[in-house]
């Protein structure tokens, strides 16, 4: 069965520190993977996506993620966080073409302390 696990419900870091948000997935092949961010009282916005190729994908606002097939992971990273990065981050999986369903992780609430 397809699933996405974000083991950290809440992460708190200081402004300027580096960040890693973890994501593990379960899927028999190579899925399409996304990271979305949700700011308070708003919809979700796409940060980055992985379909194939280079396992490190660059996103908006300095975010990047690394796909690992051997570890079934797609961790999100940022070298230096800003207070405005405080939000909920969702790791999302989709089966390649023909699928109409996205599987969302439970989300990680990121708080950046000034």
């Amino acid at each position: 069965a397809q699933s996405v696990t974000q083991p950290d419900a809440r992460v708190t870091v200081s402004e300027g520190a580096s960040l890693q948000l973890r994501c593990k997935y379960s899927y028999s092949g190579t899925p399409y993977l996304f990271w979305y961010v949700q700011y308070p009282r708003q919809g979700l916005q796409l940060l980055l996506k992985y379909y194939s190729g280079d396992p490190v994908v660059q996103g908006v606002n300095g975010f990047e993620a690394e796909f690992s097939k051997s570890n079934s992971s797609f961790h999100l990273r940022k070298a230096s966080v800003h207070w405005s990065d405080s939000a909920v981050y969702f790791c999302v999986l989709s089966a390649p073409s023909g699928s109409w369903q996205l599987i969302f992780g439970s989300g990680t609430q990121l708080t950046v302390m000034p």
């Binding site: 399409y32 708003q42 919809g43 979700l44 969702f90 369903q101 969302f104």
Partner: protein, 114 residues
């Protein structure tokens, strides 16, 4: 530019009362449309998707229904609300199948059922 508008922004309703939530997409013809539900503090569940006018597919059964009366409009409704319907409802659109394209989300509707 494409815009997505959801209404109302928030609703407080009594158990057993009817509900209608709306979503309109402007600036894009024949989009794929989706309804998502997010329980308080929880992840997102896809409820419905629609590829074309008059056609809606259900993904999760939550005693809700959806309709697409116009190309740019997607309606979520029920005749009798349950307490478990409380949460945040998000409408989204995409150009093609979910697997291949990003989703663009509205700002959502917060529903409180009392």
């Amino acid at each position: 530019a494409q815009t997505i508008h959801q209404w109302p922004v928030a609703e407080i309703k009594a158990v057993g009362s009817p509900l209608s939530l709306g979503c309109t997409i402007k600036g894009k013809s024949s989009p794929n449309l989706y309804w998502y539900w997010q329980a308080t503090g929880g992840t997102l569940q896809q409820l419905f998707y629609s590829i074309t006018v008059g056609q809606v597919e259900s993904v999760v059964q939550l005693n809700l229904s959806a309709s697409r009366p116009k190309d740019d409009q997607f309606i979520l409704s029920t005749e009798k609300l349950l307490l478990s319907h409380s949460g945040f409802y998000l409408c989204a659109w995409s150009l093609e199948g979910i697997s291949n394209e990003r989703l663009f989300f509205g700002h959502g509707t917060k529903l409180s059922v009392l």
